[in-house]
Protein backbone atom coordinates (compact mmCIF):
# COMPACT_ATOMS: atom_id res chain seq x y z
CA UNK A 1 0.00 0.00 0.00
CA UNK A 2 2.64 2.51 1.09
CA UNK A 3 4.91 1.40 -1.78
CA UNK A 4 2.12 2.23 -4.25
CA UNK A 5 1.76 5.62 -2.60
CA UNK A 6 5.50 6.30 -2.90
CA UNK A 7 5.33 5.48 -6.61
CA UNK A 8 2.36 7.83 -7.02
CA UNK A 9 4.37 10.64 -5.41
CA UNK A 10 7.30 9.95 -7.74
CA UNK A 11 5.02 9.88 -10.79
CA UNK A 12 3.33 13.16 -9.84
CA UNK A 13 6.65 14.88 -9.32
CA UNK A 14 7.93 13.51 -12.64
CA UNK A 15 4.83 14.89 -14.36
CA UNK A 16 5.38 18.37 -12.86
CA UNK A 17 9.00 18.27 -14.02
CA UNK A 18 7.85 17.24 -17.50
CA UNK A 19 5.35 20.13 -17.60
CA UNK A 20 8.16 22.43 -16.48
CA UNK A 21 10.47 21.27 -19.27
CA UNK A 22 7.66 21.75 -21.76
CA UNK A 23 7.19 25.34 -20.52
CA UNK A 24 10.91 26.00 -20.85
CA UNK A 25 10.80 24.75 -24.42
CA UNK A 26 7.70 26.84 -25.19
CA UNK A 27 9.41 29.94 -23.81
CA UNK A 28 12.57 29.36 -25.83
CA UNK A 29 10.62 28.72 -29.02
CA UNK A 30 8.44 31.80 -28.51
CA UNK A 31 11.55 34.01 -28.22
CA UNK A 32 13.01 32.35 -31.32
CA UNK A 33 9.75 32.99 -33.22
CA UNK A 34 9.82 36.62 -32.14
CA UNK A 35 13.44 37.25 -33.05
CA UNK A 36 13.27 35.36 -36.36
CA UNK A 37 9.77 36.55 -37.30
CA UNK A 38 8.72 32.91 -37.69
CA UNK A 39 4.90 32.79 -37.81
CA UNK A 40 4.73 29.00 -38.12
CA UNK A 41 6.88 28.52 -35.05
CA UNK A 42 4.75 31.08 -33.17
CA UNK A 43 1.63 29.13 -34.10
CA UNK A 44 3.23 25.89 -32.89
CA UNK A 45 3.82 27.52 -29.49
CA UNK A 46 0.22 28.78 -29.35
CA UNK A 47 -1.18 25.36 -30.27
CA UNK A 48 1.12 23.61 -27.81
CA UNK A 49 -0.32 25.41 -24.82
CA UNK A 50 -3.50 23.31 -24.69
CA UNK A 51 -1.46 20.26 -23.77
CA UNK A 52 0.13 22.13 -20.85
CA UNK A 53 -3.28 23.28 -19.62
CA UNK A 54 -4.74 19.78 -19.78
CA UNK A 55 -1.75 18.18 -18.09
CA UNK A 56 -1.85 20.78 -15.30
CA UNK A 57 -5.55 20.13 -14.67
CA UNK A 58 -5.03 16.37 -14.75
CA UNK A 59 -2.16 16.74 -12.30
CA UNK A 60 -4.29 18.76 -9.91
CA UNK A 61 -7.02 16.12 -10.04
CA UNK A 62 -4.54 13.30 -9.46
CA UNK A 63 -2.98 15.21 -6.54
CA UNK A 64 -6.38 15.73 -4.95
CA UNK A 65 -7.17 12.03 -5.31
CA UNK A 66 -3.94 11.05 -3.61
CA UNK A 67 -4.60 13.54 -0.81
CA UNK A 68 -8.13 12.22 -0.34
CA UNK A 69 -7.18 8.56 -0.32
CA UNK A 70 -3.69 8.36 1.17
CA UNK A 71 -3.79 10.88 4.00
CA UNK A 72 -0.33 12.28 3.31
CA UNK A 73 1.46 14.02 6.15
CA UNK A 74 4.76 15.81 6.77
CA UNK A 75 7.11 15.86 3.77
CA UNK A 76 4.63 13.89 1.62
CA UNK A 77 1.90 16.44 2.36
CA UNK A 78 4.24 19.34 1.67
CA UNK A 79 5.35 17.73 -1.58
CA UNK A 80 1.80 17.22 -2.86
CA UNK A 81 0.66 20.66 -1.78
CA UNK A 82 3.71 22.26 -3.39
CA UNK A 83 3.41 20.29 -6.64
CA UNK A 84 -0.04 21.74 -7.28
CA UNK A 85 1.22 25.28 -6.77
CA UNK A 86 4.34 24.66 -8.85
CA UNK A 87 2.27 23.23 -11.69
CA UNK A 88 0.01 26.29 -11.71
CA UNK A 89 3.01 28.61 -11.82
CA UNK A 90 4.26 26.58 -14.78
CA UNK A 91 0.88 26.77 -16.48
CA UNK A 92 1.06 30.54 -16.08
CA UNK A 93 4.52 30.51 -17.68
CA UNK A 94 3.03 28.58 -20.61
CA UNK A 95 0.37 31.28 -21.03
CA UNK A 96 3.03 33.99 -21.01
CA UNK A 97 4.99 32.10 -23.68
CA UNK A 98 1.79 32.12 -25.77
CA UNK A 99 1.59 35.90 -25.31
CA UNK A 100 5.15 36.19 -26.63
CA UNK A 101 4.24 33.95 -29.58
CA UNK A 102 1.25 36.17 -30.35
CA UNK A 103 3.54 39.21 -30.30
CA UNK A 104 5.77 37.29 -32.72
CA UNK A 105 2.80 36.72 -35.02
CA UNK A 106 1.88 40.41 -34.93
CA UNK A 107 5.40 41.62 -35.69
CA UNK A 108 6.58 38.97 -38.17
CA UNK A 109 6.30 41.27 -41.18
CA UNK A 110 7.82 44.28 -39.46
CA UNK A 111 11.37 45.15 -38.61
CA UNK A 112 13.02 47.26 -35.91
CA UNK A 113 16.47 48.15 -34.60
CA UNK A 114 18.82 45.17 -34.10
CA UNK A 115 19.64 46.32 -30.54
CA UNK A 116 16.14 45.44 -29.37
CA UNK A 117 16.29 42.02 -31.07
CA UNK A 118 19.59 41.43 -29.30
CA UNK A 119 18.12 42.50 -25.98
CA UNK A 120 15.13 40.16 -26.34
CA UNK A 121 17.40 37.27 -27.27
CA UNK A 122 19.70 38.02 -24.32
CA UNK A 123 16.73 38.20 -21.98
CA UNK A 124 15.38 34.93 -23.41
CA UNK A 125 18.73 33.24 -22.72
CA UNK A 126 18.74 34.48 -19.12
CA UNK A 127 15.16 33.31 -18.57
CA UNK A 128 16.10 29.90 -19.96
CA UNK A 129 18.88 29.73 -17.38
CA UNK A 130 16.46 30.57 -14.54
CA UNK A 131 13.93 28.00 -15.71
CA UNK A 132 16.58 25.29 -15.93
CA UNK A 133 17.75 26.11 -12.41
CA UNK A 134 14.18 26.16 -11.12
CA UNK A 135 13.42 22.72 -12.56
CA UNK A 136 16.71 21.32 -11.34
CA UNK A 137 16.08 22.59 -7.80
CA UNK A 138 12.75 20.76 -7.76
CA UNK A 139 14.14 17.64 -9.41
CA UNK A 140 17.07 17.25 -7.02
CA UNK A 141 15.51 18.80 -3.90
CA UNK A 142 18.26 21.39 -4.09
CA UNK A 143 17.47 24.06 -1.48
CA UNK A 144 20.58 26.11 -2.22
CA UNK A 145 19.68 26.36 -5.89
CA UNK A 146 16.04 27.19 -5.08
CA UNK A 147 17.22 30.08 -2.91
CA UNK A 148 19.56 31.26 -5.68
CA UNK A 149 16.74 31.83 -8.17
CA UNK A 150 16.11 35.35 -6.90
CA UNK A 151 19.72 36.20 -7.64
CA UNK A 152 19.51 34.67 -11.12
CA UNK A 153 16.40 36.74 -11.77
CA UNK A 154 18.08 40.07 -11.09
CA UNK A 155 19.88 40.50 -14.46
CA UNK A 156 16.53 39.86 -16.19
CA UNK A 157 14.98 42.74 -14.29
CA UNK A 158 17.93 44.95 -15.21
CA UNK A 159 17.67 44.01 -18.85
CA UNK A 160 13.99 44.88 -18.78
CA UNK A 161 14.90 48.39 -17.61
CA UNK A 162 17.42 48.54 -20.45
CA UNK A 163 14.51 48.15 -22.86
CA UNK A 164 13.07 51.48 -21.81
CA UNK A 165 16.40 53.20 -22.32
CA UNK A 166 16.55 51.76 -25.85
CA UNK A 167 12.97 52.85 -26.53
CA UNK A 168 13.91 56.43 -25.71
CA UNK A 169 16.45 56.29 -28.54
CA UNK A 170 13.85 55.36 -31.17
CA UNK A 171 13.54 57.79 -34.08
CA UNK A 172 10.36 59.11 -35.67
CA UNK A 173 10.73 56.72 -38.58
CA UNK A 174 10.90 53.66 -36.29
CA UNK A 175 7.85 51.40 -36.03
CA UNK A 176 6.29 52.23 -32.64
CA UNK A 177 3.80 49.34 -32.78
CA UNK A 178 6.62 46.90 -33.36
CA UNK A 179 8.57 48.42 -30.49
CA UNK A 180 5.54 48.20 -28.17
CA UNK A 181 5.22 44.48 -28.95
CA UNK A 182 8.89 43.99 -28.09
CA UNK A 183 8.46 45.74 -24.77
CA UNK A 184 5.43 43.62 -23.99
CA UNK A 185 7.39 40.49 -24.87
CA UNK A 186 10.18 41.61 -22.56
CA UNK A 187 7.62 42.13 -19.82
CA UNK A 188 6.22 38.61 -20.38
CA UNK A 189 9.73 37.14 -20.14
CA UNK A 190 10.34 39.05 -16.93
CA UNK A 191 7.04 37.64 -15.53
CA UNK A 192 8.03 34.09 -16.54
CA UNK A 193 11.21 34.47 -14.51
CA UNK A 194 9.20 35.83 -11.56
CA UNK A 195 7.07 32.68 -11.65
CA UNK A 196 10.26 30.63 -11.53
CA UNK A 197 11.34 32.56 -8.43
CA UNK A 198 7.92 31.81 -6.89
CA UNK A 199 8.47 28.14 -7.63
CA UNK A 200 11.76 28.42 -5.74
CA UNK A 201 9.77 29.62 -2.71
CA UNK A 202 7.53 26.57 -3.00
CA UNK A 203 10.55 24.29 -3.23
CA UNK A 204 11.89 25.92 -0.08
CA UNK A 205 8.57 25.24 1.71
CA UNK A 206 8.52 21.69 0.40
CA UNK A 207 12.01 20.99 1.71
CA UNK A 208 12.00 22.91 4.99
CA UNK A 209 8.38 23.49 5.98
CA UNK A 210 9.07 27.20 6.28
CA UNK A 211 7.45 29.65 3.97
CA UNK A 212 9.09 33.00 3.63
CA UNK A 213 8.28 35.28 0.75
CA UNK A 214 11.42 36.38 -1.05
CA UNK A 215 12.00 40.11 -1.44
CA UNK A 216 9.90 41.69 -4.17
CA UNK A 217 11.55 42.12 -7.49
CA UNK A 218 12.53 45.82 -7.71
CA UNK A 219 10.38 46.40 -10.76
CA UNK A 220 7.59 43.88 -10.21
CA UNK A 221 4.26 45.60 -10.86
Amino acid sequence: MREGFRQELKDLKAEVLAIGRLCTEQTTLSVQALVEGDVELAQRVIDGDDAIDHRTLALEEATLEVMATQFPVARDLRLLHSLTYVAWHMERMGDLAVNIAKAARRTADRKGPQTLYDLIQAQGNLVHRVLDACIESLDHNDLELALKLQELDEPIDHLYKQFFRELARLQDEDDIEWASNMVMAARYLERIADNAVDIGERVRYMLTGTFEAMPESPIAE
Binding site: F5, F71, V73, A74, R75, R78, T208
Partner: protein, 276 residues
Amino acid sequence: MSDKLPSHVVTPGAGPAYDHGDKFKVEKLDFFYGGFNALTDISVSIKRHAVTAFIGPSGCGKSTFLRCLNRMNDLIPGTRVEGRITLDDHDVYGSGVDPVDLRRRVGMIFQQPNPFPMSIYDNVAYGPKLHGVRKKSELDAIVEESLKRANVWKEVKDILSRGGLTLSGGQQQRLCIARVLAVEPEVLLMDEPCSAIDPTSVQKIEDLMAELKDRITIVIVTHNMQQAARVSDYTAFFLQEVAGEPAHLVEYDRTASLFTTPKDRRTEDYITGRFG
Protein backbone atom coordinates in the same frame (compact mmCIF):
# COMPACT_ATOMS: atom_id res chain seq x y z
CA MET B 1 5.02 25.00 43.59
CA SER B 2 6.15 27.35 40.85
CA ASP B 3 4.22 27.34 37.59
CA LYS B 4 7.48 27.61 35.73
CA LEU B 5 8.52 24.34 34.14
CA PRO B 6 12.03 23.04 34.55
CA SER B 7 14.01 23.72 31.41
CA HIS B 8 14.19 20.05 30.41
CA VAL B 9 10.38 19.69 30.23
CA VAL B 10 9.25 19.61 26.64
CA THR B 11 6.44 22.06 26.02
CA PRO B 12 4.80 22.12 22.64
CA GLY B 13 4.61 25.35 20.70
CA ALA B 14 1.45 26.77 22.22
CA GLY B 15 -1.49 27.73 20.05
CA PRO B 16 -3.19 30.70 21.70
CA ALA B 17 -6.60 29.16 21.06
CA TYR B 18 -5.98 26.17 23.26
CA ASP B 19 -3.33 27.01 25.75
CA HIS B 20 -5.04 26.91 29.11
CA GLY B 21 -1.94 26.00 31.06
CA ASP B 22 -0.66 22.62 32.18
CA LYS B 23 -2.93 19.97 33.69
CA PHE B 24 -0.18 17.39 34.10
CA LYS B 25 3.53 18.01 34.39
CA VAL B 26 5.75 14.98 34.00
CA GLU B 27 9.40 15.22 34.93
CA LYS B 28 12.06 12.62 34.18
CA LEU B 29 9.70 9.70 34.42
CA ASP B 30 11.04 6.16 34.23
CA PHE B 31 8.74 3.16 34.48
CA PHE B 32 9.67 -0.44 35.30
CA TYR B 33 7.88 -3.76 34.94
CA GLY B 34 9.95 -5.67 37.49
CA GLY B 35 13.52 -5.38 36.23
CA PHE B 36 12.51 -4.17 32.80
CA ASN B 37 12.83 -0.43 32.24
CA ALA B 38 9.87 0.14 29.87
CA LEU B 39 9.92 3.93 29.67
CA THR B 40 12.74 6.35 30.28
CA ASP B 41 13.27 10.04 30.79
CA ILE B 42 9.78 11.21 29.88
CA SER B 43 9.39 14.92 30.56
CA VAL B 44 6.29 16.52 29.21
CA SER B 45 3.46 18.88 30.06
CA ILE B 46 -0.12 18.05 29.16
CA LYS B 47 -2.30 21.02 28.36
CA ARG B 48 -5.54 21.67 30.18
CA HIS B 49 -8.77 21.67 28.12
CA ALA B 50 -7.05 20.25 25.09
CA VAL B 51 -6.91 16.85 23.43
CA THR B 52 -3.44 15.30 23.50
CA ALA B 53 -2.74 12.22 21.38
CA PHE B 54 -0.02 9.66 22.07
CA ILE B 55 1.16 7.87 18.94
CA GLY B 56 3.90 5.36 18.15
CA PRO B 57 4.45 1.77 17.02
CA SER B 58 3.22 -1.16 19.11
CA GLY B 59 5.30 -1.63 22.23
CA CYS B 60 6.47 1.99 22.37
CA GLY B 61 5.06 2.48 25.85
CA LYS B 62 2.31 4.95 25.05
CA SER B 63 -0.40 2.96 26.89
CA THR B 64 1.97 2.32 29.78
CA PHE B 65 2.62 6.03 30.04
CA LEU B 66 -1.11 6.79 29.84
CA ARG B 67 -1.74 4.42 32.75
CA CYS B 68 0.94 6.20 34.79
CA LEU B 69 -1.19 9.33 34.73
CA ASN B 70 -3.92 7.85 36.93
CA ARG B 71 -1.80 5.19 38.62
CA MET B 72 -3.59 2.39 36.82
CA ASN B 73 -0.26 0.55 36.66
CA ASP B 74 -0.30 0.30 40.47
CA LEU B 75 -2.70 -2.60 39.96
CA ILE B 76 0.04 -4.59 38.18
CA PRO B 77 2.36 -6.27 40.72
CA GLY B 78 6.06 -5.46 40.43
CA THR B 79 5.70 -2.15 38.62
CA ARG B 80 7.62 0.90 39.73
CA VAL B 81 7.73 4.57 38.81
CA GLU B 82 10.65 6.96 39.11
CA GLY B 83 10.44 10.68 38.48
CA ARG B 84 7.48 12.91 39.12
CA ILE B 85 3.98 13.48 37.76
CA THR B 86 1.90 16.35 39.04
CA LEU B 87 -1.78 16.97 38.46
CA ASP B 88 -2.60 20.63 39.03
CA ASP B 89 0.77 20.88 40.76
CA HIS B 90 0.06 18.05 43.22
CA ASP B 91 2.20 14.92 43.11
CA VAL B 92 0.11 12.06 41.69
CA TYR B 93 2.33 9.53 43.48
CA GLY B 94 2.41 11.55 46.73
CA SER B 95 1.91 9.69 50.01
CA GLY B 96 -1.46 11.28 50.80
CA VAL B 97 -3.03 10.52 47.43
CA ASP B 98 -5.94 8.07 47.34
CA PRO B 99 -5.64 6.24 43.99
CA VAL B 100 -9.39 5.64 43.91
CA ASP B 101 -10.09 9.35 44.25
CA LEU B 102 -7.37 10.05 41.66
CA ARG B 103 -9.08 7.69 39.19
CA ARG B 104 -12.38 9.51 39.72
CA ARG B 105 -10.66 12.76 38.79
CA VAL B 106 -8.76 11.07 35.97
CA GLY B 107 -11.20 8.66 34.33
CA MET B 108 -10.26 6.00 31.82
CA ILE B 109 -11.77 4.41 28.72
CA PHE B 110 -10.30 1.16 27.39
CA GLN B 111 -10.08 -0.43 23.97
CA GLN B 112 -12.75 -3.01 24.76
CA PRO B 113 -15.97 -1.50 26.11
CA ASN B 114 -16.61 -2.92 29.59
CA PRO B 115 -20.12 -2.03 30.78
CA PHE B 116 -21.19 -3.52 34.12
CA PRO B 117 -23.68 -6.39 33.85
CA MET B 118 -26.55 -4.13 34.88
CA SER B 119 -29.02 -1.76 33.24
CA ILE B 120 -27.95 1.19 31.11
CA TYR B 121 -29.30 3.50 33.79
CA ASP B 122 -27.47 1.75 36.61
CA ASN B 123 -24.21 1.71 34.66
CA VAL B 124 -24.25 5.50 34.62
CA ALA B 125 -25.76 5.98 38.09
CA TYR B 126 -23.29 3.56 39.72
CA GLY B 127 -20.48 6.09 40.24
CA PRO B 128 -22.62 8.97 41.54
CA LYS B 129 -24.39 6.54 43.94
CA LEU B 130 -21.00 5.38 45.19
CA HIS B 131 -20.13 9.02 45.84
CA GLY B 132 -23.27 9.54 47.87
CA VAL B 133 -25.90 10.82 45.46
CA ARG B 134 -29.16 9.20 46.57
CA LYS B 135 -31.98 11.43 45.30
CA LYS B 136 -33.75 9.84 42.30
CA SER B 137 -34.34 13.15 40.50
CA GLU B 138 -30.68 14.08 40.92
CA LEU B 139 -29.55 10.69 39.61
CA ASP B 140 -31.99 10.96 36.68
CA ALA B 141 -30.51 14.32 35.76
CA ILE B 142 -26.93 13.03 35.98
CA VAL B 143 -27.76 9.96 33.87
CA GLU B 144 -29.45 12.03 31.17
CA GLU B 145 -26.73 14.69 31.10
CA SER B 146 -23.93 12.09 31.00
CA LEU B 147 -25.55 10.06 28.24
CA LYS B 148 -26.11 13.25 26.26
CA ARG B 149 -22.50 14.33 26.65
CA ALA B 150 -21.42 10.84 25.56
CA ASN B 151 -23.48 11.21 22.37
CA VAL B 152 -25.62 8.13 23.06
CA TRP B 153 -28.75 9.56 24.76
CA LYS B 154 -30.96 9.53 21.65
CA GLU B 155 -30.25 5.84 21.09
CA VAL B 156 -30.90 4.67 24.66
CA LYS B 157 -33.35 7.13 26.25
CA ASP B 158 -36.29 4.74 25.80
CA ILE B 159 -34.44 1.61 26.89
CA LEU B 160 -32.66 2.75 30.04
CA SER B 161 -33.72 -0.33 32.00
CA ARG B 162 -32.28 -2.68 29.41
CA GLY B 163 -28.92 -4.34 30.14
CA GLY B 164 -25.85 -2.36 29.08
CA LEU B 165 -24.41 -5.49 27.48
CA THR B 166 -27.32 -5.69 25.02
CA LEU B 167 -26.06 -2.58 23.21
CA SER B 168 -23.79 -2.68 20.16
CA GLY B 169 -20.05 -2.37 20.76
CA GLY B 170 -19.97 1.28 19.74
CA GLN B 171 -22.95 2.10 21.97
CA GLN B 172 -21.36 0.19 24.84
CA GLN B 173 -18.22 2.28 24.46
CA ARG B 174 -20.23 5.51 24.62
CA LEU B 175 -22.11 4.11 27.63
CA CYS B 176 -18.74 3.59 29.30
CA ILE B 177 -17.82 7.17 28.48
CA ALA B 178 -21.13 8.31 30.04
CA ARG B 179 -20.32 6.22 33.11
CA VAL B 180 -17.00 8.00 33.50
CA LEU B 181 -18.50 11.43 32.84
CA ALA B 182 -21.15 10.86 35.50
CA VAL B 183 -18.55 11.32 38.24
CA GLU B 184 -17.38 14.64 36.76
CA PRO B 185 -13.77 13.77 35.96
CA GLU B 186 -11.27 16.51 35.21
CA VAL B 187 -9.32 14.31 32.80
CA LEU B 188 -10.37 11.54 30.45
CA LEU B 189 -7.70 9.02 29.45
CA MET B 190 -8.69 7.01 26.38
CA ASP B 191 -6.66 3.94 25.48
CA GLU B 192 -7.44 3.17 21.82
CA PRO B 193 -11.13 3.82 22.43
CA CYS B 194 -12.17 3.41 18.81
CA SER B 195 -10.19 0.42 17.60
CA ALA B 196 -12.93 -2.13 18.30
CA ILE B 197 -16.06 -0.27 17.23
CA ASP B 198 -18.12 0.68 14.18
CA PRO B 199 -17.36 3.83 12.10
CA THR B 200 -20.56 5.66 13.12
CA SER B 201 -19.67 5.30 16.78
CA VAL B 202 -16.09 6.36 16.02
CA GLN B 203 -17.48 9.54 14.49
CA LYS B 204 -19.69 10.13 17.52
CA ILE B 205 -16.80 9.61 19.91
CA GLU B 206 -14.58 11.96 17.94
CA ASP B 207 -17.36 14.56 18.00
CA LEU B 208 -17.89 14.22 21.73
CA MET B 209 -14.17 14.64 22.37
CA ALA B 210 -14.30 18.03 20.66
CA GLU B 211 -17.31 19.00 22.77
CA LEU B 212 -15.96 17.67 26.06
CA LYS B 213 -12.64 19.48 25.99
CA ASP B 214 -14.32 22.75 26.98
CA ARG B 215 -14.71 21.21 30.41
CA ILE B 216 -12.15 18.45 30.68
CA THR B 217 -8.67 17.49 29.54
CA ILE B 218 -8.43 14.51 27.20
CA VAL B 219 -5.49 12.24 26.48
CA ILE B 220 -5.92 9.57 23.82
CA VAL B 221 -3.69 6.70 22.76
CA THR B 222 -4.39 5.78 19.18
CA HIS B 223 -2.85 3.64 16.47
CA ASN B 224 -4.83 5.56 13.92
CA MET B 225 -2.76 8.55 12.90
CA GLN B 226 -5.59 10.08 10.92
CA GLN B 227 -7.61 10.04 14.11
CA ALA B 228 -4.78 11.64 16.07
CA ALA B 229 -4.56 14.38 13.45
CA ARG B 230 -8.34 14.88 13.39
CA VAL B 231 -9.10 15.00 17.09
CA SER B 232 -6.05 16.24 18.92
CA ASP B 233 -4.54 19.64 19.59
CA TYR B 234 -1.19 18.21 20.66
CA THR B 235 0.58 15.01 19.67
CA ALA B 236 3.37 13.11 21.39
CA PHE B 237 5.36 10.48 19.51
CA PHE B 238 6.87 7.62 21.52
CA LEU B 239 9.40 5.12 20.26
CA GLN B 240 11.30 2.09 21.46
CA GLU B 241 14.34 2.21 19.22
CA VAL B 242 15.99 -1.05 20.26
CA ALA B 243 14.11 -4.16 21.43
CA GLY B 244 14.71 -4.65 25.14
CA GLU B 245 15.68 -1.02 25.63
CA PRO B 246 13.28 1.47 27.21
CA ALA B 247 10.96 3.53 25.05
CA HIS B 248 11.11 7.30 25.16
CA LEU B 249 9.38 10.42 23.96
CA VAL B 250 10.82 11.51 20.61
CA GLU B 251 8.74 14.56 19.78
CA TYR B 252 5.86 16.52 21.23
CA ASP B 253 4.26 19.45 19.47
CA ARG B 254 1.05 21.03 18.30
CA THR B 255 -0.66 18.43 16.13
CA ALA B 256 -0.81 20.75 13.12
CA SER B 257 2.96 21.30 13.30
CA LEU B 258 3.84 17.69 13.96
CA PHE B 259 1.84 16.45 10.99
CA THR B 260 3.13 19.08 8.55
CA THR B 261 6.67 19.82 9.69
CA PRO B 262 7.88 17.28 12.24
CA LYS B 263 11.23 18.31 13.68
CA ASP B 264 12.63 14.83 14.21
CA ARG B 265 13.44 12.51 11.33
CA ARG B 266 12.15 9.48 13.30
CA THR B 267 8.75 11.16 13.72
CA GLU B 268 8.69 12.00 10.03
CA ASP B 269 9.55 8.45 9.03
CA TYR B 270 6.90 6.99 11.33
CA ILE B 271 4.00 9.26 10.42
CA THR B 272 4.72 9.00 6.71
CA GLY B 273 4.63 5.22 6.98
CA ARG B 274 8.31 4.62 6.32
CA PHE B 275 8.51 2.32 9.34
CA GLY B 276 6.30 0.98 12.12
